[in-house]
């Protein structure tokens, strides 16, 4: 499997990468870890004339935690996320999710920015970022702008990012309370049949706040306010978990593929959400 020919660029900073994108228009694509793009190029499902390699853009790497403000450079790899002690303390849900992405080799290369920017419904980070209320920074010819993860996804592989913009960083407030990222997959390295990201806070034995997002159950991630609302104020008992699952099932829209028919996916969605809520509650 040999991809079509392309010209290779390796800019030394993000601003130069943006000007390359501008000058080559829709013939250009940026490459981070490349573990989504290169397989597509090998299958000739992606044709790229100009490949802009971001690996030297040091300004897009690294994790910083300042109080409860967390910033992650887009070129930070899943391996870096897993290894980061400060991130595991500030946002353990990211650690838990990153461990469930792909396999060790892919995690050394795959980046969090690529995962959120690609718009692949199978990626885990988009739903997670909606759950925690992250904000993405994109850099374009007119400078930076910020887009909430909850407003970023428009359709499969279509996002609010313009073609001449690069997603450079992710910001969020360190989540409080209990958390869980629960994923069902056929095998290591597969995308989710269904996955759920859950955050819960507890006050006096009841759920004070909740946020729930689902992965690979629609052509975009599903942040289900109704599911979260079904938990708030209750004691997170079996009935309220059932109500949350029922509300979530109203919001998802899975389609049949080689991971199973629609009914099976809805069944799995209910199970992963139940497990995620129970685990998050036990940690709240």
């Amino acid at each position: 499997m040999i991809p079509g020919a392309f010209e290779y660029h390796r800019p030394s900073d993000t601003a130069s990468a943006v000007s390359l994108l501008q000058s080559h228009g829709d013939e250009a694509r940026v490459i981070a870890g490349g573990h989504s793009l290169i397989p597509m190029m090998k299958l000739r499902m992606a044709a790229v004339e100009h490949l802009i390699d971001l690996q030297d853009c040091q300004d897009m790497k690294g994790i910083s935690v300042d109080g409860d403000a967390v910033t992650i450079g887009a070129m930070t790899t899943q391996h870096d996320l897993i290894e980061s002690k400060i991130l595991a303390d500030a946002a353990p849900i990211l650690h838990e999710a990153a461990l469930q992405i792909a396999d060790p080799q892919v995690r050394y290369m795959g980046t969090v920015g690529g995962n959120v920017a690609n718009g692949d419904p199978g990626n885990d980070m988009p739903g997670l970022m909606q759950c925690i209320g992250a904000v993405f920074t994109v850099l374009g010819p007119n400078g930076d702008r910020e887009i909430a993860a909850r407003d970023f996804y428009e359709a499969a592989y279509t996002t609010a990012r313009e073609d001449d913009e690069i997603l450079t960083q992710i910001r969020f407030t360190a989540p409080k309370g209990g958390y869980a990222y629960e994923k069902q997959k056929r095998k290591i390295g597969d995308y989710a049949t269904a996955a759920a990201a859950v955050l819960l806070t507890k006050e006096g034995g009841t759920v004070a706040s909740a946020s729930i997002a689902m992965t690979n159950l629609s052509d975009i991630p599903v942040w289900s306010e109704a599911a979260a609302q079904a938990l708030v104020g209750g004691a997170c008992d079996a009935d309220s978990v059932k109500a949350a699952v029922a509300a979530m099932l109203e919001d998802i829209d899975p389609s049949e593929d080689n991971r199973g028919p629609v009914e099976f996916k809805r069944h799995v969605a209910g199970i992963v959400l139940t497990r995620a809520i129970e685990r998050a509650w036990s940690r709240a």
């Binding site: 499997m1 020919a5 490349g34 290169i38 060790p104 892919v106």
Partner: protein
């Protein structure tokens, strides 16, 4: 789209190759440099037979353009040990029947090498988790895990004896 010079170190030797940007690293290694330890298995980033070590990371060489590795240090199974001086992992795979057909073995050993650099005393569960990107269709993995745990013991023993 013409060929470009790419420089990197392979098993300690500096190499300068000419390749089109679209050439995958696994092809450069095998076809231009005759480094045939890394194998082409699935060619779709799943099986791990092509695993090489690049600047301290285990990487599937079928999912990287050679030009992306410009300036890096690459280690393949050939650089980990030699027939006269086997690495403890290679010895352990032989002693514990960690291979049958041997096709996945270069990737297994190269990945296990990095795993033990990062975690010199892994539990069985950590070995299984850390080796999840490498597929073997012969052994059922039991003896691969056994080999890696034995190699870790051997390497830790050698270290302790030296102290």
């Amino acid at each position: 789209m013409s060929k470009q010079h790419i420089k990197f170190t392979v098993n300690g030797e500096e190499k300068d190759v000419l390749a089109e940007p679209r050439e995958l690293l696994i092809h450069t290694l095998r076809e231009q440099l005759n480094v045939t330890g890394p194998h082409i298995g699935c060619e779709t980033s799943h099986c791990g037979a092509c695993t090489v070590d690049i600047d301290g990371k285990s990487v599937k060489a079928c999912t990287l353009f050679a030009i992306q590795a410009n300036g890096t240090e690459i280690t393949t199974v050939e650089g980990i040990g030699s027939p006269d001086d086997l690495h403890p992992l290679q010895k352990a795979f032989r002693e514990h029947h960690g291979l049958q057909c041997g096709y996945c073995t270069p990737g297994m050993i190269t990945r296990a090498y990095r795993l033990l650099q990062e975690n010199p005393s892994p539990t069985e569960e950590e070995v299984r988790f850390g080796m999840a990107g490498n597929l073997c269709r012969c052994t059922g993995y039991q003896n691969i895990v056994k080999s890696i745990l034995a190699a870790a013991d051997e390497m830790n023993g050698v270290k302790e004896a030296a102290e």
